[in-house]
Symmetry: C2
Subunit: 695 residues, 2 copies
């Protein structure tokens, strides 16, 4: 998942994003990631003179797709064709590749539908309905606290999800927590578990400029891809899709982004932000940075290492930049002062209304208190539970198999929430789909995790001793990775289907390792629920009520990787006297190319230079308020035509997790105009183009 | 240089070190890194009942040694034998090694004096006199500001140093800035440029427990080494040396640490600390962490890579822990509140005395203003000037050769201060001494620096374009490292001696590269002097006067890698109800060994187990106030006998850069008792033992 972006780190210490930001109070112009059942159409009409009616909303919702790779997308033909970003399918392209055929480097072009290839673990989901279940969830947890609160709430959610979709395996039901507990809604999705890759350009084309240009603008990235939804071996009929617009957007044109922003923290209290700033962000970034270094060096050890590390390194560097931006947004004293002022305002409003004050109590104080427990437990929780195994697929398989067997043996209401019945099908798909495992990388990840756990918990911690015994991280990771058979999906399936008895009897060293060591992780998770997330979530419900009382309808919920609509317009921006135009063109790409990675053109692009219209609008920026998870979101106009796919944010969006400033925050989009021209002139994809432009 | 240490990172978010700390006001019990000409002997007598008279001070000063490897040490025989830490000579052991003979892994044991081997670049220095030159330096810069202030001050310092030692090449003169500009003192040292390695144990013995145990206690490290001073090819006669004590110290015994604490920041203003916390520390740590990851992976690529990376990785991980501790000390809100309170107290005292107030003005405001420039320039200054070339020796050689030629062509008062006449001999020694260059590591460092510079300044910055041209960091670093001849000391000597004409005519690609690119670094350095260090240093002089006026003699200067004496006693500590005893023994070492790195015993120690007295005191802790640079410092008793060498600090010293808390801060020492027993029973070093214990 490409997350909201930043860059130009030399702006650190500059004016930053704080001053003008709306701070979790009522939304400012163009601000907000609105749910489809609560879109501020009147405000939009007033600002932009365009009418967004229910028919428009229904149509766009029905064509909006969520990908379980952590992205957004849109239906763009009647035959299940889906438009998204390249970086949303790069995992798939990597997993379909081998030492012989590298679809990441060369691109993937299916000449016929028969050549379209299934993406392991990927599911596409289209939202079909939203129902309010707030009362039922809050009633279930009423009067409870700590871990009891968490359990009762999660049990109610699990039951609602199970009931909601029990009758139809083609649907997925998900209870979404909005406003940090202020609302609970049941989202029902039509799901498609067979998603196939149709088209992906070369990595060098999709990600031209690489990490140095990531989160910058002007940009020159053809960050597009197409996948197709299949069911019963055939393309899915999708009469409700967006119209592919081949013309470029215009400056000032109103545009809407329909997608799934992954998460924001705009409604956190100041105490929570301080914990992020002083503890969680620094530690996660220091660890990420070391892993990045290990991975970079690994990728330089040979051609195969370079190939296999491309996608994980891209993901890691992208996250690093995202969290770098967040860290420095919070390190900005002015930004935090604005947050403090917003919090003081809300507190004053609550205090001024005795009825609200009596209902709300002191959620700030309660959340503040939970920060102490957060501080005491964070490193332990992070190392043993949150990031266990680092990025190792094998470790992840082993843990899901072990926990799955243990949890499924319990009654529904007693399980860890991710093992609730409604959540098992997707988990099983992702566990059991065939995908390649790269042994050297797996060992690198496991070794990294074990050595960092020893470092951060110390060698003398009982958990470290349990994890390592007398072995070193290097020895242990080598032994586990070379001995396990979990790379084989049939082995995983036998264990998953076999349940606890099969798991306990398994001679697999990684299964046995998780059976032996997972208790330490479960223990800290339980403490975390009891001392941190329970008290925090419980207080956050009342904080949400305080906010509703103070600002009514004018607030939108923090992002939750569920469908949202944001509005805005095509526009550049001006910062410190420098104006950045809204558009780039193909000619700029050729000017920026140096011949050296990551500013190297793919051979097809060198060859096609004279055929391409150099003035084609390539990428453009808009004022829409988005964040990571929105990658691949269709950017549509008031007619419901798709003009591009959002793939990035500009530098000033760096604090977007915590707030939005419409004067300088921008969404970065790859245009359908560029995609059309490239498919035609560079790739010769006439069948695909015909499908896109069919009337 | 091992720096003051911390660890047990799981204590993050705990009570921290803040509450009891003296905060740059008058020193608390056992606090302080005192100059030998201002030692609080009366206070020590009152606290410990021992008399430290001038004769004692003179004797200890004459036996205290500063090593240019960034360490401290002591003379322990009449024949120039010097006692220090293993980690103070590990560079030397590494440089004397090859793929065939690995003195780091196997240890270095010279059976005879003929086998003692010269350490490249190392110089030992013994302080012989201190003279006050405050008036002359402050007068020279009086009334000046910005870069003029810096230039005038540095010119005066350069002139004083040149005059002070002009007549004798066996001496080194150094003007030391104390109290951040409150005092300037001329330190005159007897210098010894031929330092030879006598004894170093195995890395596994000196650094048992490795990075996981670093900055922890209990510890089991024989972190000792011996070197010998030579002159004219013969051992130097050193009648003034410390007596080697073979008995272990006693609980509560008063002890003194005589050494060179590298630097502290206890007298920084709150604004300066905030800049460190929010900007400089996070960025330096993120970069250090990535380099660490690259180096770890590099070290796993083969036996030779492991050998060559051992020392740099050790240094990098040590620094990482040090700065991790500093970061989290500053991230502790209570700690910063205490700093704010101390600053407010000093401001109030100044305001209460109109004469002082008129003299001092508002240094806090001026320093605060300079923080804005710091923020604007930091990344640029760091990447282009401070850390240019990363750890590449070759790049360092090239820059010193180029700048040396350019600067030496100027009159003394116009040069960059490090090229002042008095400073050239040591620079030339370090530049020209023969030492091996590891090409793969060199490329790793250069590539890292170039890629981080592009990342942090962006690809579009003119400096990035100047540095990279059309090449990638990978291509450019490979080309420069493979093409340069600077690994050869005769090539370096020809260029150093040849001056600017020879340098400009050199075909060496690295010399030409620095000639082409160094202007960008010089430019930002000049801006830094003008906008950051000039205004800051100028204000700091008056801040020091404010502190003298408020607290008189009861303040000690921030550490400056010059000789200091700290006092305290042998004592464990109690934290959160857990008491840590003051001593470890050999038996604990054998209990802790797992057989896996870094808890693996060297073969000699496995073999010697039954011969060793298991109850020998191995390492111990004291209340002395030290910091990085103190490594290798003799820990002496009131009789002037050496009881051990300081080599570390405990976890609670983590904020020691910013303050001291005698209740939990501890110095970690390897005992002479352990050294004696090990030299005898493990290493059979009878000649060395005889020399140490000679009457």
């Amino acid at each position: 998942m490409r997350e909201l972006q930043m860059a130009k780190l030399n702006l650190i210490g500059g004016a930053g994003v704080a001053a003008l930001m709306a701070m979790a109070g009522p939304a400012a112009a163009d601000e907000g990631m609105w749910t489809f059942d609560h879109f501020p159409a009147a405000k939009v009409e007033q600002a932009y003179g365009v009418k967004i009616d229910q028919a428009w909303l229904d149509r766009v919702q029905a064509a909006s797709v969520r990908l379980t790779s952590g992205c957004s997308a849109s239906l763009v033909s009647k035959d299940g064709l889906v438009f998204s970003n390249h970086h949303c399918v790069v995992d798939c392209a990597q997993e379909l590749s081998s030492g012989q055929t590298d679809y990441v480097k060369q691109g993937f072009l299916a000449a016929t539908r028969a050549e379209e290839k299934k993406c392991a673990g990927m599911q596409a989901e289209v939202l079909v309905s939203i129902a309010d279940v707030t009362q039922r969830v809050t009633d279930a947890a009423a009067g409870k606290s700590g871990q009891d609160f968490v359990k009762a709430r999660d049990a109610a959610i699990g039951a609602i999800e199970a009931e909601g979709c029990a009758k139809d395996p083609k649907f997925r039901c998900q209870v979404v927590t909005l406003y940090r507990g202020g609302q609970y809604k049941l989202y029902k999705y039509r799901k498609y578990a067979d998603v196939r890759l149709v088209f992906a350009p070369e990595f060098a084309t999709a990600f031209f400029g690489g990490d140095p240009d990531n989160f910058n603008f002007p940009r020159y990235n053809l960050d597009i891809s197409f996948v197709r939804l299949y069911e019963d071996g055939k393309p899915v009929a999708t009469p409700q899709h967006l119209t592919w617009q081949t013309r470029a957007p215009k400056e000032g044109e109103p545009v809407f982004v329909s997608g799934n922003p992954g998460g924001t923290d705009r409604q956190l209290t100041v105490a929570q932000l301080e914990t992020q700033r002083d503890l969680a962000l620094p530690i996660s970034q220091l660890q990420r940075s070391e892993l990045r270094g290990r991975l970079i060096r690994f990728s330089e050890e040979g051609a195969e290492q370079k190939r296999t590390a491309t996608d994980p390194l891209f993901g890691l560097e992208n996250s690093f930049k995202v969290f770098f931006g967040r860290q420095f947004a919070l390190n900005d004293a002015k930004f935090m002062d604005a947050k403090r002022a917003a919090e003081a305002e809300l507190k004053a409003k609550v205090a001024a209304d005795p009825k609200v004050a009596a209902d709300v109590g002191d959620p700030w104080g309660e959340i503040g208190k939970a920060q102490t427990a957060y501080g005491d437990l964070y490193v332990r929780y992070r190392m043993l539970e949150q990031t266990a195994g680092s990025l190792s697929d094998l470790y992840g398989y082993a843990r899901e198999i072990v926990r799955g067997a243990q949890e499924r043996a319990k009654p529904a209401g007693e399980r860890l929430p991710e093992y609730a019945d409604a959540r098992l099908p997707l988990m099983a798909k992702q566990l059991l789909d065939e995908k390649p495992v790269d042994t050297p990388l797996e060992q690198l990840y496991l070794e990294f995790w074990l050595s960092k756990t020893r470092e951060y918990l110390t060698a003398d911690d009982p958990a470290t001793k349990l994890l390592l015994g007398k072995e070193s991280p290097e020895q242990l990771s080598a032994r586990l990775v070379s001995g396990t058979k979990l790379a084989d999906p049939t082995v995983r399936k036998a264990l998953w289907d076999g349940g606890l008895a099969a798991v306990q009897a398994s001679p697999d060293p990684l299964i046995q390792y998780v059976l032996k060591t997972d208790a330490a992780a479960r223990e800290v998770r339980q403490r975390w629920d009891t001392e941190v997330s329970g008290p925090t979530d419980r207080a956050a419900q009342r904080l949400a009520r305080a906010r509703f009382a103070a600002y009514g309808d004018a607030v939108y919920p923090d992002a939750t990787f569920t469908l949202r609509l944001s509005y805005g317009k095509v526009a550049g921006w001006t910062y410190r006297g420098v104006t950045v135009p809204a558009f780039t063109t193909f000619s700029g790409l050729y000017e920026r190319a140096t011949g050296s990675e990551p500013f190297e053109l793919a051979p097809r692009w060198i060859a096609a230079k004279d055929k391409l219209n150099p003035n084609t609008v390539f990428d453009f920026v808009t004022t829409n308020d988005i964040i990571g998870g929105n990658s691949g979101s269709p950017v549509v106009n008031a007619k419901g035509e798709v003009l591009g796919a959002a793939f990035d944010g500009n530098i000033h969006s760096l604090g977007g997790d915590y707030g939005y400033d419409g004067s300088i925050n921008r969404t970065v989009v790859v245009s359908t105009a560029a995609a059309t021209e490239a498919l035609d002139k560079v790739y010769g994809e006439t069948a695909l183009l015909k499908e896109l432009t069919a009337k």
